[in-house]
Symmetry: C2
Subunit: 704 residues, 2 copies
């Protein structure tokens, strides 16, 4: 029942807490349902009344005596649990709990909310809310909310975690002439949440675009699973707020500091084809574009204009948003040259100059739309003496229909004299803008989504061989038994080896003599690194020396490190000093992991070395998605590090296969062991052949 | 006469080419002047008519027989020169040439335009246009344009290089209820340009904000000089188009590739306090803010809201735009706690919850505005059952007046039910927005400008000692005589020394033996670098070897370099190999210069080394402004390199004085020698004490 038909298209609705008093929310809900033109049965429930709004009122939902699919509950918080139970007994399938006073007021409310969830499970009901405005479906039609008004029919669904925002947008939509298929106010999301509604609306034939305003996502894995599927059939555009707290959390690892919780959302949205926007303006601009226009086949934009300045601004925006200016075919240019005035510009942007009337717009727009090198068109119009804004609007609408596979948008730059033309465009499905930049931004959203749709699914899941889980299990158990949370260097090295990630040889020395001996054994040059469970950033305290070429140098370095570390951190317990085989060729990158509460392990890849946090040349993926070579490769290409890896300024190309493999194996490792909470491999040196993990930091915690 | 009073407030206006025919532009101009309520004398000039629009028509401007300050010319292009000459003879002071068909149509038009300029100089007239819409001043009032309509009185000046855009904005302003002091259509800018009008409007008591749309700047140095002064008295906000061609130009130096022409504009705007915006929306959002609200003293924002969701979005925007959420004083929090409902949020953002009526808005807004920790306030309002949008609008207007030193803006989120409230706010000087993000962006613009205003002027011009111009002159002359354009390594080194920029010792060896000898002389370690006028990026062709510790190694390296270079570039002329003293401690930065046609030498500073173009961690200044220590220091702090220089992760701080000095000396060098067209010092290594220029590339050309 993922369609949730009993919520959006119920055969019967009971309004529990319906009221005769216009001040009461229960009154507004009942009136809204009646006035929306709902065709099913409506049962007001209020023991104190016999009749409300011309309908017989019932004492309890159980008294109705007939099946009830949906109940909208607006009774005082203290009574909600009892009423919900009665609904269960009466066989109700869906609840909308409008009433506030649950989780949002603290622990007592939370208890009541949990009880509500139990009741829903017990009686196999699904619930929207509590603490919500309700929902609307303009096609059913039904307005099961207390909002003031009912939207025009349309194909946009708006799901909002903020009830006030939903009401605001509804109010605003009347002015904008924007139609909606569904409005859903999520409230506390105790049972049904954005994921359920995205799934439901993906199956709704009346919905073409799904908009969401959310403050959090209820269940990371399910969100990805549902959206991955849903976004292949219709665009899901999300405005996620609360980004400003992201960076605040302290983190001890590089990856943790880089990640922040917003990165996990960013990665999740990317991986499941969700379009993320940064403002309400962008959300609704994109909604207008998707709701009315076809997806472009490619990103080549044609511009037709009657003025130069606005066309330059638009061209700037085309570059800013990574679209391309279409390069017309010779035929097109010839035709434009032959039929336009001499002063016109016949290349893109096509400037049909200030005295252009409707016929010239018609000719130019038709000509560029006929060109195979044009994927979409923007029409700019500035008011001038001879301009015919209304007639030109008709032309744009007609040509947009004739070229139904190419998106067309307009920028009518002006107010008073263009108002009628603008209205005609909007009413007839052309997204019209007053200034150029938002129109291009909207086109970019469409191109991004079209690219996502066109992406082929990964050929196959990667098969990783030579993985020794038992060995890692043993190391982790040993460290936990030792009551440590950070693996020592040589332990981390062993973990790498067990998962087939090549790491440089590293052995622990507890004395100068031992260090010198190890150095001679593993061969020079070597690096020395302090080994202490309390020292995270070894370089910062003088705990690292590199480029050591002799036994004598080892001894000196050993002493220097010990001196410095005991000076800076006199209380840190010291296990000794790791002696590591030095590898100094290749590109330094970082592979790391931080665990997100909502989305699980999050893998970072990017430019490595000590400047990683300064440069922030990094990209993120959820480990769950890093099960195929294509995704790992895509990740690599998103960074500037990629330029280095390809062979920058005369260097040989680095071993991409070895790198891809290391990323996939890291993802596998952290997926296999939920004990690993944070991990940095920084740097990994990627050579012309092969790669070597040099500095590995693994943090773990005991799982219950 | 920089006020240009004869343009904006002339005592008499002649309309040359005035017409009785409503289709003619000359008719529209005359009607516009009459209808605008212009109080001076109006003289139509048209030899074919006796009377136009009730005014006596003259055969020629010379026939008027009385003084004429301003002439608006709208006659066929072929007659303009003659008419202008007559104006000169008649003692006219200002011309507005509406007629098109000059520079924009090619060489014949350009010839005519040059003739026009000559006439203006001959007769000491100033000219707006040709090929423009004209100008308007609502306070005079005068509408000397053919635009359809006259703006409402206000304090915003809009200067536009695009006539169509000016007409569009005028049309749009009627819908927005936005008033203007002046509209100026620049046209071809043959004489008067944006700089003249910025200067004029800075002196205009009726103008509070200056907006510009420009496609280029006429004279870089004068622009900076004028804006530096003007921006201290009123904000200048510029939308500069044509950014998309910026990156296109090929360049052989690092700095050139990084610069592009847009960087020069960026630097110029920054240096003279111009606020640059990226879209029309932003231009006019900012205009509304500056035109109505006072400048904030600091960046601490208070938010009062009746809904949570929009407040979170607003808080996100506050962080995104680098503003701060105000932290209220204890008194404020106590007062809010005492007087607001329990469910309200009494910290910032103050959420007075959904049932808030006007009284609660009044109390909360007043309380936060009284707090010294609040520099500006945003009021968010979503429509709900009890909301009083109109009354609340009155409250906001009143409190904004009571706290006249703190900017207040509103976000009335909605449409239909808020329309009246929104109108009241707009009409009474509160910038109102429909969604949160643009309101915060506008606040940011105000804060940036307030910061600029508050900046102290640099204490003094730096005095650079130990500069030997003659020596550099000799080297340049020698290279030019040699018909080379790139200085050899040791020549560049000498240039550095002559200007007091410390550079590592570098000597040219023409044989293995000589290289070995030099190495022993200057001391190991040394670096070897190919010396060839044809090789720009030495590393790319194997032309550099570093870390050479012995005579034997020098010889090997010498041979390897020669082998590789002759393999990759068999035809490159080789002068030999530079042997350079190696310096390997310190932070690698770049100082460079590329010369901009408009603005002259442009200095780059940033993270250096071979990754400079990859990282693009750079900032730019015009050399003309780099004459004081403060500016050079500001430049340094704008980069990530600054973090390294301060002493990153346990390293000692680098010598900022030495670095600042090197930047200032470089600016001086390229200002003194216009022969230097491009220059890279990359890297400069900045040590704990001192700095060393390691690789210096100087390109020159002969000056006539």
């Amino acid at each position: 029942m993922k369609e949730l038909n009993y919520m959006f298209n119920p055969k019967q609705v009971a309004v529990i807490g319906a009221s005769r008093s216009p001040q009461k929310i229960g009154h507004a809900i009942l009136e809204n349902i009646i006035n929306s033109g709902f065709k099913g049965e409506i049962y007001p429930v209020n023991p104190k009344e016999e009749e409300i709004s011309g309908l017989k009122s019932f004492c309890s939902v159980k008294d109705i005596g007939k099946p009830v699919e949906l109940a909208v509950i607006s009774v005082p918080a203290a009574h909600v649990v009892k009423v919900a139970e009665e609904c269960g007994e009466a066989g109700v399938k869906g609840l909308i709990v409008i009433t506030a006073g649950f989780k949002e007021i603290g622990s007592e409310g939370l208890k009541q909310e949990r009880r509500l969830i139990e009741i829903c499970q017990e009686y196999d009901m699904r619930m929207l809310g509590p603490n919500c405005v309700g929902l609307m479906d303009t096609h059913t039609p039904v307005n099961a909310s207390f909002a003031n008004g009912f939207p025009d029919e349309g194909n946009i669904t708006f799901i909002s975690q903020s009830g006030a925002m939903l009401v605001s947008i509804l109010d605003w939509s009347f002015e904008m002439g924007m139609g909606f298929s569904r409005f859903i106010s999520l409230g506390n999301k105790a049972d049904l949440n954005e994921i359920d509604f995205i799934e439901s609306c993906a199956a709704d034939p009346q919905t073409k675009v799904i908009l969401c305003y959310v403050e959090d996502i209820a269940d990371g894995n399910r969100f990805i699973e549902v959206c991955k599927k849903a976004s292949k059939s219709k665009p899901i555009i999300i405005l996620k707020s609360g980004t400003s707290t992201a960076g605040a959390q302290a983190a001890s690892s590089h990856t943790g500091a880089l990640a922040g919780s917003d990165r996990a959302y960013e990665a999740a949205f990317k991986q499941c084809g969700v379009l993320r926007v940064e403002s309400m303006n962008e959300l609704f601009d994109l909604a207008r574009a998707f709701s009315t226009q076809p997806l472009p086949h490619n990103s080549r934009v044609a511009i037709v204009t009657n003025a130069g300045g606005p066309a330059i601004l638009t061209t700037d925006a085309v570059e800013k948003y990574d679209l391309r200016m279409s390069r017309f075919k010779k035929d097109t240019v010839d035709k434009l040259r032959k039929n336009l005035p001499d002063e016109a510009n016949i290349y893109n942007p096509v400037d049909i100059i200030g005295d252009a009337m409707n016929d010239r717009y018609h000719f130019a727009l038709k000509t560029v739309l006929e060109d195979n090198n044009v994927d979409c068109a923007l029409v700019l119009l500035c008011p001038a003496a001879l301009t015919e804004p209304e007639k030109t609007a008709e032309t744009i609408v007609k040509l947009s229909k004739d070229f139904a596979e190419k998106p067309v948008m307009s920028v009518y730059m002006g107010g008073k004299t263009l108002a009628e033309g603008k209205k005609y465009l909007t009413d007839n499905g052309i997204p019209d803008f007053t200034f150029p930049e938002p129109s291009v931004r909207s086109l970019q959203g469409m191109v991004r989504y079209a690219d996502y749709i066109a992406e082929k699914p990964p050929v196959k899941k990667v098969k990783l061989t030579g993985i020794n889980e038992d060995s890692v299990r043993r190391i982790i158990n040993h460290v936990l038994k030792d009551k440590r949370v950070v693996l020592l260097g040589h332990e981390a090295s062993e973990v790498m080896t067990a998962y087939g990630i090549p790491a440089s040889r590293s052995l622990l020395a507890t004395s100068e003599d031992e260090a010198a001996k190890i150095g001679t054994e593993i061969g020079f040059p070597v690096a020395l690194k302090i080994s202490s469970p309390k020292i995270a950033h070894k370089t910062d305290v003088g705990g690292v020396e590199i480029g050591i070429y002799s036994e004598k140098e080892i001894r000196n370095a050993y002493r220097r490190i010990m001196e410095k570390v005991t000076y800076y951190l006199p209380d840190a317990p010291i296990h000794g000093i790791e002696v590591q085989n030095m590898v100094d060729d290749g590109v330094e990158i970082i592979i790391g992991m931080s665990r997100d509460i909502q989305f699980g392990p999050l893998i970072v890849f990017g430019l490595g070395g000590i400047y990683v946090n300064l440069m922030e040349d990094v990209t993120f993926r959820l480990a769950s998605a890093l099960d195929n070579v294509e995704e790992a490769k895509k990740m690599i290409t998103e960074t500037k590090a990629y330029t280095l890896l390809k062979g920058y300024r005369g260097k040989k190309q680095a071993d991409m296969n070895a790198l891809t493999d290391a990323i996939l194996r890291t993802a596998r490792l952290v997926s296999d062991f939920s004990e690993i909470t944070e991990m940095d491999i920084n740097p990994v040196r990627v050579h012309h052949q092969g790669a070597t993990a040099l500095d590995i930091k693994i943090t773990i915690e005991k799982k219950e």
